[in-house]
Amino acid sequence: MTNLIYLDNNATTKVDEKVLDAMLPYFKDEYANPSSMYDFARGSSNALKEARGKMKDFFNAQNEKEILFTSCGSESANTAIRGVLNMNKNKKHIITTKVEHPCVLNLCQTLQKQGYRVDYIGVNSNGELDLEELKNAVCDDTAIVAIMHANNETGVLFPIEKIVDIVKTKNPHTKVFVDAVQTAGKVPIDVQAMNVDLLGISGHKFHAPKGVGALYVNSKTLITPLIVGGHQERGLRAGTENVPYIAGLAKAAELAVDNLNYEVHEVKRLRDKLESSILKTVFNARLNTGVANRVPNTTNIGFEYIEGELILLHLSDIGICASSGSACTSGSLEPSHVLRAMNVPFTSIHGSIRFSLSKFTTEKEIDYVIEKLPGIIDKITMLSPYQDELNALRKLKA
């Protein structure tokens, strides 16, 4: 096997060594249940308290009571949306977007079957949200607006402050939940500046392990628990706290804040280098997001008249990991709902590839991809039945 070049950090990330070190004591030594009464439980109980404090700082929340630990981003979203709806039984309207993560989209579809009305706000061809459509959708009956901070496939950022302003101006009682799974660790998160009511994150997207997440719930926002049982998390999330993972999440959050500057400048520089080089050297490459404002680590490029899975398989053969919105990779037979909502042309939607970098990505790795990718695209392009169209495109580009 050749050296691994991991450019799929929006799918999951490598656990940081420092995060792992922060977790280990709570497996080996401090394994007490933090709810226990004896002295031995002080270590784990303190770890939990400390982690909550760190997450408060990470979100810039007002106090620790606003932090809820969960098992993942999907649990955070489900807790937020169902929790708010249960507290506002008389309101039957939900607003979300056409490009949300399945954990929000599929939940909304389930709720629709249970009698809720859902508006799915569209995006333009760059993947930017239609704010006018959003404004028109908010009504007296709107219980919650569930919206992502950045899209997982394209990296396009949504202007949360503006969105909250639009929503609250029309209906101050409507709650806003932000899915920040793709922005945690990539851009600053400030729940007070954003003025959001709820915000969810997932640890494994920023170098904590899989299986831990967090939900910020504003102290003025009431929710019901999704998991009912013991008194943990002030009765809002039953189940013995996953202390080692929570400690890991807090450590990752702390490291992410320290690393933000590097992320915004250096990771962005490498992403831009990769992107501009591909667009320059590959004649049938097309940037799917145009000029949209994005997180620093993501690029989504469509290759016309060829298919994405085949590109991924060839990349994989030389150790490069990326992902595709093509139908063939998901097993769903349809290309990604995000790219479809953006009306990405059908000539390139099936050949769309996402590269997502991290702080561990090196310049050498990016240079290797830049060196190898054009040859792979060329090889696959030779197979295509659309040679006439490709030749026309080649001329146009030259």
């Binding site: 008249y305 060829i306 298919e307 994405g308 899975e309 085949l310 398989l313 060839h314 053969d317 093509s326 139908a327 063939c328 990779t329 097993g331 769903s332 037979l333 349809e334 290309p335 059908f346 000539t347 099936h350 030779m382 197979l383 295509s384 039945p385 659309y386 040679q387």
Partner: protein, 282 residues
């Protein structure tokens, strides 16, 4: 992560017979750019034998592998034999495909069928052309992927498919909006109902045929066995499902005669003629 066989991986890494054939004798197409995969196959045919084949594919690893191996399977074969190739043959040749990827092998079959539909070998007679009959448009079942009823029917027949999900894996039908799931279920039901009726028809014998068959089995199968033990049997009468027989020789009066009648004579007749037959000794 798909579980691709070594052969599939070999064929998408090193596809055979890629490209276009100038002066091809038959060209077939399947799939479309909008649907996410398409295939064009070119055949050179001389004296009824496929002497060369090339392909161009827009699609995933298994689509390229299916097209590539298909060209290898047909080069050097007579057209009459090539016409018999099914999607299952393509998938088998590749050492199997993941269930969700079976539609790639179906695309290969479709393109091949399309090529040969357009090709007329010596002695080929197009009845429609002779009678000037207008070709009926094929009924589209799945609007999203443009899947016809005929293709679904073929997929059921060639692969023994039984569920809507399997149909989706093999043909893509109902893989997007899912509105045609009911229609597909109807096609599956119709197919198996028809198959059952055909089998039933085969099984149902007229009263005269039944009598002849019972008589023949007693004479040729049962009697020789009993003769080996020094006994014999004769048919006395048939009354509906009741078959009256008489045991002879050593069998007559044998203390095991009931066992002979029930476990040998009756079970043989039930197996071969009708499961409701009752044999009675008179």
């Amino acid at each position: 992560m798909w579980d691709y066989s070594e052969k599939v991986m070999d064929h998408y890494r090193n596809p055979r017979n890629v490209g276009k054939l100038d002066n091809a004798d038959a060209i077939g197409e399947a799939g479309s750019l909008a649907c996410g995969d398409s295939l064009k196959i070119y055949l050179k045919i001389e004296n009824g034998i496929v002497t060369d084949a090339k392909f161009q594919t827009f699609g995933c690893g298994s689509a390229v592998a299916s097209s590539s191996i298909l060209t290898e399977m047909i080069i050097g074969k007579p057209v009459s034999e090539v016409r018999k190739i099914t999607n299952k043959d393509i998938a088998d040749e590749l050492g199997g495909l993941p269930p969700e990827k079976m539609h790639c092998s179906v695309m290969g079959y479709e393109a091949l069928e399309d090529a040969l539909k357009n090709y007329k070998e010596d002695g080929y007679v197009d009845m429609d052309e002779i009678f000037g009959e207008e070709k009926k448009p094929e009924k589209i079942v799945c609007q999203c992927f443009g899947v016809t009823e005929n293709l679904i029917w073929d997929a059921i027949k060639q692969n023994g498919l039984k569920t809507v999900e399997e149909i989706t894996n093999y043909t893509k039908a109902a893989g997007a909006c899912g509105k045609c799931k009911g229609l597909i279920q109807d096609i599956i039901d119709t197919y198996y109902h028809k198959e059952k009726e055909e089998k039933k028809l085969e099984k149902t014998l007229s009263p005269a045929q039944k009598i002849l068959k019972i008589n023949s089995i007693i004479e040729n199968k049962i009697s020789p066995e009993l003769q080996k033990d020094g006994g014999d049997i004769t048919l006395v009468d048939i009354d509906g499902d009741r078959v009256l027989v008489k045991l002879q020789g050593k069998c007559s009066g044998c203390k095991n005669s009931t066992l002979t009648i029930k476990s040998f004579v009756q079970s043989t007749l039930r197996e071969t003629v009708d499961e409701n037959i009752e044999v009675i000794e008179v």
